[in-house]
């Protein structure tokens, strides 16, 4: 049995410890907001936060994730109790900018953006530059939502 802490909840799963976290989230815990795109750590559709840092859940074994704080898109809105935390503005900014098209890669986008905003919290300038956003957001979006996603991240970071 492996104990996972996902979105503040504890789960016991009985799978080989080398099973990728992605498939435990999706097929066993039925937390299907985290998406399968490539399975080889290229597309970033499966991005989750592990102890507040981004990681590709297809490339993280469930054994190595045990005991760590895992956050999926389903838990993004409850990460911070502070309504003024930029994390709590991300999803609204996404909608304000009408960012998703098919939407499939967007949970990975959101979680990568969340990690970026966490990284910038407490810095002198908590707003990442265009270059920093583009450098961080390696997610593949076949629909081409990049322009709106970038604008949404800036809105969330600045509160405007």
């Amino acid at each position: 049995m492996i104990t996972l802490n996902v979105n503040g909840q504890s789960y016991q799963v009985d799978v080989p410890s080398n099973t990728p976290l992605l498939w435990v989230l999706r097929d066993i815990l039925h937390l299907t907001g985290t998406k399968y795109g490539c399975g080889i750590s290229v597309c970033w559709a499966c991005t989750v936060l592990i102890n507040g840092k981004e990681d590709k859940s297809c490339d993280v074994t469930v054994g190595s994730a045990a005991g760590k704080a895992i956050t999926t898109v389903e838990g993004l809105s409850t990460m911070s109790p502070d309504p003024n935390n930029p994390l709590n503005r991300l999803q609204k900014a996404w909608i304000d900018h009408q960012a998703p098209q098919c939407g499939y890669c967007q949970s990975g986008m959101l979680m990568r953006a969340a990690a970026l905003l966490i990284e910038y919290q407490g810095q002198d300038n908590p707003v990442p530059s265009d270059g920093a956003i583009s450098g961080a957001m390696q997610n593949i979006c076949v629909c081409g939502t990049y322009q709106r996603v970038k604008a949404a991240i800036k809105s969330a970071a600045t509160g405007n």
Partner: protein
């Protein structure tokens, strides 16, 4: 954040899905005229092209929309039409998928264009029925009643009743056949950048795509096809079920083809998961497959030499002919001849193919079948299910799920057939998934193409003749048993009906018989032909020493094509936004322009690029900006139009730079995204979209953003480097890391 996604998990229960709300349901078909209102208990079967509006006693307003939502905004555009005429606030409207029996096909960028009138009329009819119900209740004339934001107001005494209160009575009233429509000038919803109702679920993880479906007691299955294209499963063959799986099911090529070409590996063991099945699949011997005798010929080099030789022989079908081309070329002062080639392309949707099926009872004889699928063609899924199960369509229910991209691939039925076959064989519900490698290697690809354009110029450099011979596999011919008797219009679309004044022209088509399955890839023939045509026009401009924009203007202004005036306006709008004639191009950059019509929508794009040199050789280019102008008649939702243009440009750009799938001895070169590079945010141009509302009949926007971008960047690339790229992609063999 609330879960207000269109597909709540409850949609997985069909009784929930169809449960009445005590209100009424208006079904309106135009122009057939079989309109009726009914108690909201069921939907009639086999009503196509129908708009459904459901008004609940709880004040809920639900618009039921067919086809499939793959990001193109179909659930928004049509519902906006119904809401406009209903006079309800857009925020109050919910959208649900129509059951397949009443659904349609999402293809040809026609979802909103062809159906908006029906939705407008249905909204207006429902509104008039609600107003009549209020008038009857109050005992006043309908002229004394007015629909306002989901209520009806009594103009004599300001009494108000809500739609929910009126719904039950309204359902009993006759359906008006010619309801009064709101003049376009008074629209309050159409033409505004309305928020899409499906986005909340898409940002909080609750939106259910096909791959997210979970049905009680379901098994998981993954598919593996014969490793060589055209290969089959040996017969007889004995495949023992490996440890870690529960069953192996043989899968036929189509609903009616008894020859098996794939297997499903299935598990209902505790802890079953997709990755576990992929690992277990490795333990199945490769010795179970037959390799086709012609495997060595299934090779990109062979395909290309076949196509090149077909340019000069074979029997062409004429697609378009005007004037005397022979004389034009015989008397030409100069002839330009250019050959363009394009590769096979996979769709590479972010969501792999998948389908979930539940048979009732679990084992034969079956009485019912339910299917949860990401599909562009719910109605085709219904036909497939009936053919595979032998059940009547009334015993089959399809739940169209959100698609993580469709792009023309989720129109096909192969993955549906496989899932049904598997569920029938294993005696329990199953979710069947194609691993990414299968999705890439068993696609129905955009056809490869070789196209040769010859241009006759007179002594002053004016075009007197235009010849375009197009050689490619035929999508339509692969889908039927009889040979082609005329050109394949999908193959030549975008090569014909050009808005340019060519005094003589001949466009013809030679079919390239190729065993690689081909299909409809976002914008189909247009993306292929626009590359050749708009590159060739540019080559003429450079040969004649005329600015590329100026030449296009001259050719369009002199044309009698019905779209010429609109094309010119779009071209000028894109050029103006790009500053083609007003803003100097920054050092180290160049601009290229292209314009193309697809599905009635005209799009022009100006790309501003710079190149990366490695040891003096261009190895990449950066598109800094794209100025895009689009005329789709009338934009229902400018927000969606802009998004679709951005999407089309990215899709076409990635394909032009890197997109290629090659064949070697029947095996595909692309197995995953690491070998199919896509544009990332750091490489993304800033796209400016200008909507030219010409007031022409509405046309679609899902696909027309794609065609102009490849020639626009090729034309810019030539100006910058002097290298004319006629063979796509620009940079073959590209790879991508994480």
């Amino acid at each position: 954040m609330n879960d207000s996604s269109i597909f709540k998990p409850t949609v997985l229960d069909r009784r929930q899905f169809l449960k009445g709300t005590g209100g009424f349901l208006l079904a309106m078909t135009i122009p057939a005229g079989t309109n009726r209102a009914m108690a909201d208990t069921t939907l009639p079967a086999n009503a196509t092209g129908t708009a459904y509006i459901r008004i609940g006693a709880d004040e809920s307003i639900t618009i039921l929309v067919g086809g499939g939502e793959m990001g193109q905004g179909i659930y928004t555009g049509l519902a906006m039409g119904a809401a406009e005429e209903l006079k309800v606030k857009w925020e109050k409207v919910k959208v649900e998928p129509l059951p397949a029996s009443a659904s349609w096909l999402s293809a040809g960028s026609g979802g909103i264009r062809s159906r908006l009138p029906t939705f407008l009329k249905a909204g207006a009819a429902a509104r008039e029925m609600l107003v009549s119900a209020a008038a009857q209740t109050w005992g006043v004339a309908v002229t004394n009643c007015q629909a306002v934001d989901g209520t009806v107001k009594n103009l004599l005494n300001n009494d108000v009743m809500t739609y929910g209160q009126l719904a039950q009575l309204a359902a009993t009233l006759p359906v008006p056949t010619a309801p009064a429509l709101t003049p376009a000038a008074n629209y309050r919803i159409i033409g505004t950048p309305a928020a899409r109702p499906d986005l909340v679920g898409k940002v909080n993880g609750s939106a259910k795509y096909g791959l997210d479906v979970v049905v009680d007691g379901m098994a998981l299955a993954i598919v593996k096809h014969a490793p060589v294209m055209g290969g089959t499963l040996k017969d007889p063959v004995n495949i023992s079920v490996p440890s870690g799986a529960s069953a192996v099911v043989k899968l036929g090529a189509t609903a009616t083809n008894p020859v098996n070409n794939a297997i499903a590996l299935v598990s209902w063991l505790p802890g079953a998961n997709t990755w576990g099945l992929m690992e277990t699949m490795k333990n199945i011997s490769g010795n179970i497959w037959n390799t086709p005798a012609n495997a060595a010929l299934l090779d990109s080099t062979v395909f290309k030499s076949q196509a090149m030789s077909l340019l000069g022989r074979g029997t062409p079908f004429i697609a378009e002919q005007k004037g005397d081309v022979d004389t034009a070329f015989a008397s030409a002062a100069r002839v330009l001849e250019m050959t363009y080639t394009l590769p096979y392309l996979p769709h590479a949707c972010m969501e792999v193919l998948n389908c979930t099926v539940r048979m009732t009872p679990a084992t034969a004889p079956f009485t019912a079948c339910e299917i949860w699928a990401p599909t562009q063609a719910p109605n085709s899924v219904l036909s497939t299910a009936s053919a595979v199960t032998g059940l009547p369509k009334t015993a089959i229910r399809i739940y169209p799920m959100f698609m993580g991209g469709g792009l023309g691939r989720k129109f096909e039925q192969d993955y549906i057939t496989q899932a049904i076959t598997t569920a029938m064989a294993i005696g329990r519900p199953v979710k069947l998934v194609w691993p990414r490698s299968e999705d890439m290697q068993r696609d129905q690809y955009r056809p490869m193409a070789v196209t040769r354009i010859r241009v006759a110029l007179d002594a002053v450099g004016k075009i007197t003749g235009w010849q375009n011979r197009h050689v490619s596999p035929s999508i339509s011919a692969q889908r039927r048993t009889t040979p082609l008797t005329a050109h394949d219009a999908n193959a030549t679309e975008g090569a014909t009906a050009l808005p340019y004044a060519f005094p003589s022209r001949l466009i013809d088509y030679v079919q390239h018989m190729s065993p690689i399955p081909v299909g409809y890839w976002r914008s189909v023939g247009y993306s292929i032909n626009a590359f050749a045509v708009e590159s060739a026009i540019d080559e003429v401009a450079h040969a004649a020493g005329v600015d590329e924009l100026v030449l296009r203007r001259q050719l369009i202004s002199a044309s009698t094509d019905p779209l010429a005036a609109r094309t010119l306006a779009v071209l000028n709008a894109a050029a103006a936004t790009a500053g083609w004639e007003t803003t100097a191009v920054p050092a180290g950059r160049a601009r290229g322009i292209a314009v193309a019509q697809a599905f009635g929508t005209i799009v022009a794009e100006v790309a501003e690029i710079s190149v990366t040199l490695t040891a003096g050789v261009p190895t990449n280019f950066t598109v800094h900006k794209v100025a895009c102008a689009v005329d789709c008649g009338t934009a229902v939702n400018p927000n969606s139009v802009e998004a679709q243009m951005q999407g089309g440009i990215f899709h076409g750009l990635s394909a032009a730079k890197w997109g290629e799938l090659k064949w070697t001895a029947g095996k595909a070169s692309v197995t995953n995204f690491n070998k199919y590079r896509m544009t990332r945010m750091s490489e993304a141009p800033v796209i400016t979209t200008t909507i030219v509302n010409s007031g022409a009949p509405m046309s679609g926007t899902g696909e027309p953003g794609v065609p102009p971008i490849a020639p626009a960047v090729a034309n810019a690339y030539f100006k910058l480097t002097g290298i004319r790229v006629r063979d796509l992609p620009f940079f073959p063999g590209a790879t991508m890391g994480g």
